[in-house]
């Protein structure tokens, strides 16, 4: 042992290089100096390669996103650097984002806009107003209502209040319309497009009078039997009462006869009758034969992936956001530059629209702009096809539970029994409340199903031939150079 120890030291220095010798005197541990580089173990290799490729993909993608966005921002920046007159109105666009079918998060469309289109608009100093639809059909209803108000203003049926005219920033209705025409409408995704078109068609076709949807519905529901007194229960409750005294009570509580229902009905009636009398004399209430020019449309393709089956697509999208950034920025750029072309819809569309109602997926014909983002409909959740049936089931369940609540409410109202201690603390809903709740629920169910009927894949995009001359679409200015230039003088 001792021999070996003594024999080795002289042999070692001979093998050491000069560098090694020098370094060994610097205080670096000798074990570090003897390290030979080698590959890490198999597991480490797997871990490192997976991690680094994931991180690399992510970083590369986000860098590209920044570059693309910056390129478009630089293209439009000059528009924001002009000096502004304090009383000037900047160009304002309206952004519509409808609820995506089967997604609880109704703001998805607006979020997409904010993330991918907005930076370009901000850079170009274009103001925007975002309107989101909480439920299906909200956008359609809103657009129709706005259109109706505009028509009234155009016809001079409504006038701006005097107080508003006093403001220094007041502009006449015509100036406002002109300003809106210079702006535009941003439509995010296929559902929004369908709702918007439905709203425009309805708004330019329907009457000019305000329609109180609650009142209309209550008139429809007036004659149903859900709030009628069940005969056997009433008999049991008033078995000891005299027959003549019992009769009026057994009559069904319809809104006309019931004193309970009148407070609900009262406020809505005068409100709806007042404008009718004041404006009735000079209303040409029929739909106009020509629709004046409408703000140009910017169609932003957008697909919202939801559900377990689409998770691979979500992952792919997470690492490929640059495509969305490019598409959104391009759309924003088209809007900012303001080059438009008339909407491109084939002449005989009406037949196809009609036939599309009958047979699903029948028209394989190109519908031009009406086919905007059609492939997004393949990504709707299949469970949405049963949406009307599901709503019916919920409605049925509600009506099955209703008589019990109604009986309790009536018993307590008539004092046939004392309320229990629990009912003292949390009083059950009265009949008036139940009626109001029913009206609200019924309204929501009907609106939802109606909204779904607008956007469901088997329903065609609504189209009105009168829109042909008045609707325009934003196009990419670079592509537009080759076609005949039809740019509108939009930038003020």
């Amino acid at each position: 042992m001792a021999d070996a120890n003594i024999a080795k030291p002289p042999s070692l220095p001979a093998r050491q290089s000069g560098v090694r010798t020098v370094l060994s005197y610097t205080g670096i541990p000798p074990s570090w100096l003897d390290k030979r580089p080698k590959l890490p173990s198999r597991n480490w290799l797997i871990f490192l390669s997976v991690t680094s490729s994931v991180v690399g993909l992510y970083v590369y993608d986000r860098q590209e996103c920044k570059k693309i966005r910056q390129a478009y921002v630089d293209k439009v920046k000059h528009l924001a650097e002009v000096t502004a007159d304090p009383f000037d109105f900047p160009r304002t666009v309206t952004v519509y984002g409808a609820k995506w079918p089967a997604d609880e998060e109704y703001l998805q469309g607006i979020k997409y806009f904010r993330k991918y289109v907005k930076p370009i608009l901000v850079a170009a100093a274009v103001d925007f107003e975002m309107i989101s639809g909480k439920r299906h059909g909200d956008i359609a209803a809103r657009v129709a209502e706005d259109t109706r108000l505009r028509r009234r203003l155009d016809l001079g049926l409504d006038v701006d209040p005097e107080a508003r005219k006093m403001l220094p920033t007041y502009r006449s209705a015509a100036a406002r319309v002109k300003h809106a025409l210079g702006g535009g409408v941003v439509v995010i995704g296929r559902p929004t497009f369908k709702e918007y078109m439905a709203g425009v068609c309805a708004g330019w076709t329907a009457g000019l009078e305000p329609v109180d949807a609650d009142e209309a519905l209550s008139r429809v529901l007036e004659h149903d039997t859900h709030f009628d007194e069940p005969p056997d229960l009433a008999d049991m409750a008033h078995a000891d009462a005299d027959a003549p005294a019992d009769l009026p009570r057994q009559a069904p509580l319809s809104p006309q006869t019931s004193p309970v229902f009148s407070p609900l009905q009262m406020p809505s009636k005068p409100a709806s009758s007042r404008p009718r009398t004041s404006t009735a004399p000079s209303v040409p209430s029929g739909p106009p034969s020509v629709i004046p020019p409408l703000p140009p449309l910017l169609l932003v393709p957008f697909t919202n992936y939801i559900g377990i089956t689409q998770i691979p697509l979500m992952i792919w999208g997470f690492f490929n956001q640059r495509h969305k950034v490019r598409s959104g920025a391009e759309a924003g750029y088209c809007l900012v530059m303001g080059n438009t072309r008339p909407v491109n819809v084939p002449e005989d569309t009406v037949d196809f629209v009609a036939s599309a109602e009958m047979s699903e997926r029948a028209p394989l014909v190109d519908l031009g702009d009406l086919d905007f983002d059609k492939e997004a409909e393949d990504f709707y959740k299949s469970s949405m096809e049963k949406f009307p049936e599901d709503t019916d089931k919920i409605r049925q369940k509600y009506y099955e539970a209703l008589p019990k609540k109604l009986a309790i409410a009536r018993e307590l109202a008539r004092g046939t029994r004392e309320p229990t201690k629990e009912e003292y603390e949390n009083p059950p809903p009265t009949e008036v409340e139940l009626r109001a709740e029913r009206l609200k629920k019924e309204r929501r169910w009907r609106d939802d199903v109606h909204g779904w009927d607008i956007i469901k894949p088997s329903a065609a995009v609504q189209w009105d031939e009168r829109l042909r001359g008045s609707l325009t679409v934003f196009v990419d200015p670079e592509q537009d150079q080759s076609d005949e230039p039809s740019s509108a003088p939009i930038i003020p």
């Binding site: 528009l79 650097e81 000096t83 502004a84 900047p90 901000v122 100093a125 103001d127």
Partner: protein
């Protein structure tokens, strides 16, 4: 002559509570305004002063900023008020009110 008679009661005793409330309110509004101006200024106006007037981008930004600030203020105010009311109710019942 009515203004003489109408003016007489306040001169006898100035309502200190109301004056205090008005002062507090004025302070709140001034504070709100100053905060809004400073935050919107720092958000929207670039530090490079090239010209005396606002440019388009800045004016749109300020417009949106002020609108947003007011909206948030309104929402927070509503929330605080409803919470204050709830707390007052709880406080009347003998509870502890943190607000």
């Amino acid at each position: 002559m009515s203004f003489l008679r109408g003016g007489a009661p306040p001169s006898s005793g100035v309502n200190v509570d109301k004056i205090d409330m008005a002062i507090t309110e004025l302070d709140t509004v001034t504070d709100f305004f100053n905060k809004m101006v400073s935050s919107c200024y720092s958000k929207c106006i670039s530090t490079r002063f090239a010209e005396p007037d606002l440019n388009k981008g800045e004016s749109v930004c300020i417009d949106r900023c002020v609108g947003k600030y007011n909206e948030v203020q309104k929402k927070v105010g509503e929330k605080l008020q409803s919470r204050g009311a709830a707390n007052a109710a709880a406080g009347a019942a003998g509870g502890f009110s943190p607000l």
